[in-house]
Amino acid sequence: MSTSIPEAHHDVAPGDEHGPADISHAIRGYLVGLALATLLTCVSFYIAQSTLVWQPSIPIALSVLALAQMGVHLVFFLHITSGPDSVNNVMALAFGLLIVMLLVFGSLWIMIHLDHNVMPMQRLMQMQR
């Protein structure tokens, strides 16, 4: 009886789990997410302080671990999945990520070029004397 509830809508609200679920199943989802997030956090803290990873690549490694943990949070805590009932939520997030990437990498790109091409103020002052 409980499984025969008609599927009136094909969408799911962000944050809601899709499909029927009981309490223990839902709690287990959060605990799996907690375990994965704790693991990734511990690896991040360990890598930042050890010589395990080649030092110039540490920021890249930490970025990758952070992205992975954000993915874990999105799937297990926010229930944003790749399922067909969550397409609208994923599309909104994808557009947001596009803007975020443009903002962050665009700013860094432009400012690093400025740093290379513009003469430091002190040397400019010396030349004017």
Binding site: P20, F45, L103, L108
Partner: protein, 215 residues
């Protein structure tokens, strides 16, 4: 079994007179529309943080001869903050489950745990800020520190606002019960709280850990 799982599905309040007028015959339910709209707001909030984040990334080395991140950041403190926020986000999820299942004890207990952990996070962060300012490393010291305080402070303000919202949601459930409209607000609060933890993942990884890592 069937009664419990039907209640959990979130079709709560269908029989409620108010719910009948709120939910249209066709199209998505009001729960989906409200949560989707709030999701759009949260994404714009993430974009706000990315602007502050880009500012910080550009100004990391602009220390004006003052202290750098390596001199100031204390990883054990950051680890405790991270643990507080991660556990609080899990308890926030438990509160949502408890509310859907109409289990008051689970709801209030999980919300209280979320509040205590969130408040601990804010207290530790305030203490960190105070000790930095005491060392002469306040937001006025260098462009790096201005960007740091703006970015981390903005997140701290969000968590503080979230704590006030959390208390409001506990009071609303106490006064009005697990009504459909209250459950929608609770879903929005849970989305907000989970998103703050996602932003903190970026902050502790790319501000604190990269700031301390050997170069």
């Amino acid at each position: 079994m069937s009664a419990a799982s039907t209640a959990y599905l979130g079709v709560a309040g269908r029989g409620h007179a108010q719910a009948l007028t709120e939910e249209p015959e066709h199209g998505p339910s009001k729960r989906i529309v409200v949560a989707y709209g709030f999701w759009i707001f949260l994404i714009s909030d993430i974009i706000l943080f990315s602007a502050l984040f880009a500012t910080y990334a550009v100004l990391t080395d602009a220390t004006a001869g003052g202290p750098t991140g390596r001199d100031l950041f204390e990883l054990p403190t950051v680890a405790v903050e991270t643990a507080c926020l991660l556990l609080s986000t899990v308890f926030c999820g438990f509160a949502g489950i408890g509310a859907q299942a109409r289990r008051s004890g689970m709801y209030y207990g999980a919300m209280a745990a979320t509040f205590v952990l969130g408040a601990t996070f804010v207290a530790i962060e305030l203490h960190e800020f105070a000790s930095m300012i005491h060392l002469g490393a306040g937001p006025g010291r260098s462009a790096f520190l201005s960007a740091f305080f703006a970015l981390i402070g903005c997140h701290g303000l969000h968590v503080t606002a979230g704590l006030l919202w959390l208390l409001t949601m506990m009071a609303q459930v106490y006064a009005k019960g697990f009504r459909a409209d209250i459950l929608r607000r609770l879903l929005c609060f849970a989305l907000f709280w989970h998103t703050l933890d996602i932003i903190w993942v970026a902050l502790f990884s790319l501000v604190y850990l990269v700031g301390v890592a050997p170069r």
